[in-house]
């Protein structure tokens, strides 16, 4: 009798527990009749100038569409990508709009994780190359919303160059051997050759390799190399990697190369001023052009710029690599694809291109007129920076080549690029022969 009562009670408890989610479901159904919530995951958590732009887009869209609530969540890049992968793999908790996954985009497109931007996206608002950048080999449609362009540049510390007795030529270009000499002199004076470090990013050490490779072989062949479409066992690849190894031996990398984060090495460059050069795209300003109290640089500290190394036998020293910043893509897990598409189309208006440039000092991918510039835009203290870009890179022809997310690069080649070129070779853990062997093995 007692056993029967206990078992009856247990059965009733299980029945009640099973009914509880149904009650919750009724509440959820009621909630759906209200405003639609769109979840937007964005990196750039530590870049206030970019946040200002995206927050304004969000606010103005919501003002124009009261039936939509945008939940904008800011992340650092790596945690965002891990959370995104976890959510999509689990099939639960994924946002509607997310920062593009850069080097993993192809793999995730193959997994069906993204939706195209749709036929109504205003590509006419964009500068040349932006629409092509939104397309991926083997997939119909355009997937990536772009807002920022990038130029890949070399900065140099004028004071250190003066100290070590280096004069910058009129064409802002040094030869391979001259570069090695500069690095050696900087190192002898107690400075690192460059401020680049790989503490929390899989690519900073790639920039000297990519810039010099591009300068040597030109855009088309360079594209094949970084996408793994071309064997790396070539005289050109060996020339670049031998030179990088020589630069490393001369003192190219800081002592904290493998532990400094991307935020750290920005400070190392512009505040601690412990490095002679910095090889970096124009998204530098997102972390550097903010108040010094927040980790930004002194606006009065003016660095110089250089063109890519003149490689022996090179064909493209008079050109510069252009590209596009991180953008946004629409998650295939979204329950409101048309609203997500509408939000990104709204964000492609010329006034947001103008706002982007004013706020971030980064070229916009979106075309705009002077009338689109906000009337209350404060005077920028960074005029010298733009003047230097125009002086050094303005006369050069630009080739748009996606550096961080080459569209045809396989997952294995991505991993090899990181471990071999970003880590192994700069750290001296592998030599050039092994680097070439591993890169080819991953193709």
């Amino acid at each position: 009798m007692m056993t029967k009562r206990i078992l009856t009670g247990l059965f009733m408890a299980l029945v009640i527990a099973a009914l509880l989610p149904a009650g919750g479901q009724q509440e959820a159904d009621a909630a759906e009749e209200g405003p639609v919530t769109i979840t937007w995951w964005s990196h750039w958590a530590n870049e206030p100038s970019k946040r200002v732009v995206i927050e304004q887009i969000k606010d103005e869209y919501m003002a124009a569409n009261p039936d939509v609530v945008i939940d904008l969540v800011w992340w650092d890049k790596e945690p965002l990508q891990q959370a995104w992968r976890t959510a999509m793999t689990a099939g639960e908790g994924a946002p509607d709009i997310v920062t593009d996954p850069a080097g993993d985009t192809m793999v995730q497109l193959e997994a069906g994780w993204f939706l195209p931007l749709g036929d109504d996206f205003p590509w006419d608002n964009y500068k040349p190359g932006a629409q092509d950048n939104a397309q991926y080999s083997g997939f119909d449609g355009y997937y990536k919303y772009n807002i920022g362009q990038s130029i890949n540049m070399i900065f140099y510390n004028k004071e250190i160059f003066d100290e070590i007795g280096v004069d910058v030529p009129d064409d802002y270009t040094f030869t391979q051997d001259e570069w090695v000499d500069i690095i050696r002199r900087a190192n002898a004076a107690g400075y690192a050759g460059s401020a680049l470090a790989i503490g929390n990013r899989p690519y900073p050490a790639l920039f000297p390799i990519w810039f010099s490779f591009f300068s040597l072989v030109g855009a088309d062949e360079f594209y094949d190399y970084i996408n793994g479409l071309q064997s790396w066992d070539t005289p050109e690849a060996r020339q670049v990697l031998d030179w990088i190894a020589e630069m490393g031996d001369a003192g190219m990398w800081p002592n904290t190369f493998s532990t400094m984060t991307i935020d750290d090495f920005h400070v190392y460059w512009h505040t601690q001023r412990q490095a002679a050069t910095l090889w970096i795209p124009s998204w530098y300003t997102g972390r550097a052009f903010k108040p010094e109290s927040e980790g930004g640089q002194d606006p009065d500290w003016q660095f110089g710029m250089l063109r890519y190394p003149r490689m022996d036998g090179g064909v493209a020293e008079d050109r510069v690599i252009g590209g596009f910043e991180s953008g946004y893509m629409i998650s295939s897990a979204t329950e409101h694809p048309e609203i997500a598409r509408d939000i990104l189309a709204f964000a492609a208006q010329p006034r947001y291109g103008a706002l982007w440039e004013v706020a971030t000092d980064i070229p916009s991918a979106i075309r705009y007129e002077s009338s689109d510039v906000p009337a209350d835009a404060p005077e920028s203290p960074w005029g010298w920076y733009h003047d230097e870009i125009n002086r050094v890179y303005g006369p050069l022809a630009m080739d748009v080549v996606e550096l961080l997310a080459p569209p045809e690069r396989s997952g294995d080649f991505t991993n090899a690029t990181t471990s071999v070129l970003n880590e192994g070779l700069p750290l001296g853990l592998i030599d050039v022969d092994e680097a070439i062997e591993r890169m080819n093995a991953a193709r």
């Binding site: 247990l10 999509m88 993993d104 793999v107 904290t256 190369f257 991505t414 471990s419 853990l429």
Partner: protein, 304 residues
């Protein structure tokens, strides 16, 4: 007493037992057994996300065969085994020595007991963050001290040098965990009968002789258990290394646990079958290792 009533009083309360252990069993089945079982099954598949689903393709032992040609896995296994052997040895010797010190009630033994146990109370993540600062090349405590005393040439990038990073990580993990072994061994010493020690003292034995001839043999069963626990902890080390170095530079501090995490959630491939195979392989290896150690140590215990 009537027989029927007697039977009822002596009957095992099955229903009550089931009800009382049901919550724990449900939790155990849901969060322990099911994930283990699912991982074992998944290790025989290639699992690829496609259009919101997971496409499963049976590949048999292909994932396991791939382990033997995976260079990074080889590095992770090497690092983890070094950690398990070196870390466990250092931890056991240190914990044993400290336990004897406190047991013999040296001056300030109460303070030592608290001080040496406290690090285990701090989570591995916090320990990793703090020691990352301590070993910072530019302004960390270690290098600042070395520069202060004129040993600047020893002020290196502790976490960034491939030849040093693993040693530093092992040290930090040791600092975080040795207190657990220490307290277990101290408890074991405390359970040894005082009359044995007093008898030995009356016979003129000093502390070293008492430790070697009486306490150490009596402590062997506890030592075996503590060693096994320490070994297992090292074999699945994750939090400290993940925060300190993330397995870098260039996998030089990679452990099997961090490699599984990376293959599952950070790799350019989205396949979950291969990381499942790594986890299963390591699980079996740890079980075999622990069993072997246990049998060897138990045989020594039985000979006492």
């Amino acid at each position: 007493m009537p027989e029927r009533m007697n039977r009822r009083l002596n009957a095992t309360p099955i229903a009550a037992t089931i009800i009382l252990i049901a919550p724990v069993m449900i939790y155990y089945a849901t969060f322990i057994l099911y994930p283990i079982g699912a991982t074992i099954v998944n290790s025989f598949y290639r699992m690829t996300p496609r259009a919101g689903q997971i496409i499963r393709e049976f590949v048999g032992f292909q994932n396991f065969r791939a382990l033997f040609s995976d260079k990074i896995f080889g590095i992770a296994v090497r690092n983890t085994l070094i950690w398990a052997v070196v870390g466990t040895s250092v931890e056991m010797v240190t914990a044993l020595a400290l336990a004897f010190i406190v047991f013999f009630k040296v001056p300030f033994h109460r303070f030592y007991r608290i001080a040496w146990f406290t690090p285990i109370l701090i989570t591995g993540v916090i320990v990793g963050v703090v020691f990352r600062w301590i070993f910072n090349y530019d302004w960390g405590l270690v290098n600042a001290f070395l520069r202060l005393i004129g040993l600047e040439r020893l002020a290196v990038n502790w976490l960034g040098r491939p030849d040093l990073a693993l040693g530093v990580v092992i040290f930090v993990h040791f600092w975080n965990t040795f207190g657990y072994s220490f307290i277990l061994l101290l408890a074991g010493l405390s359970s040894v009968g005082q009359e044995l020690i007093e008898s030995a003292e009356i016979d003129g034995a000093n502390r070293l002789q008492i430790s070697r001839a009486i306490l150490a043999p009596m402590l062997l069963p506890v030592t075996v258990t503590t060693m096994i626990l320490a070994f297992m902890g090292k074999m699945r080390a994750f939090h400290v290394v993940w925060v300190l170095t993330n397995g870098g530079p260039m996998n030089q501090t990679e452990t099997v646990a961090t490699y599984v995490q990376k293959r599952a959630f950070n790799w350019s491939s989205l396949d979950l079958g291969y990381p499942s195979a790594i986890a299963v392989f390591w699980f079996v290896l740890v079980i075999l290792g622990v069993t072997a150690i246990n049998r060897w140590l138990q045989s020594r215990t039985e000979n006492l």
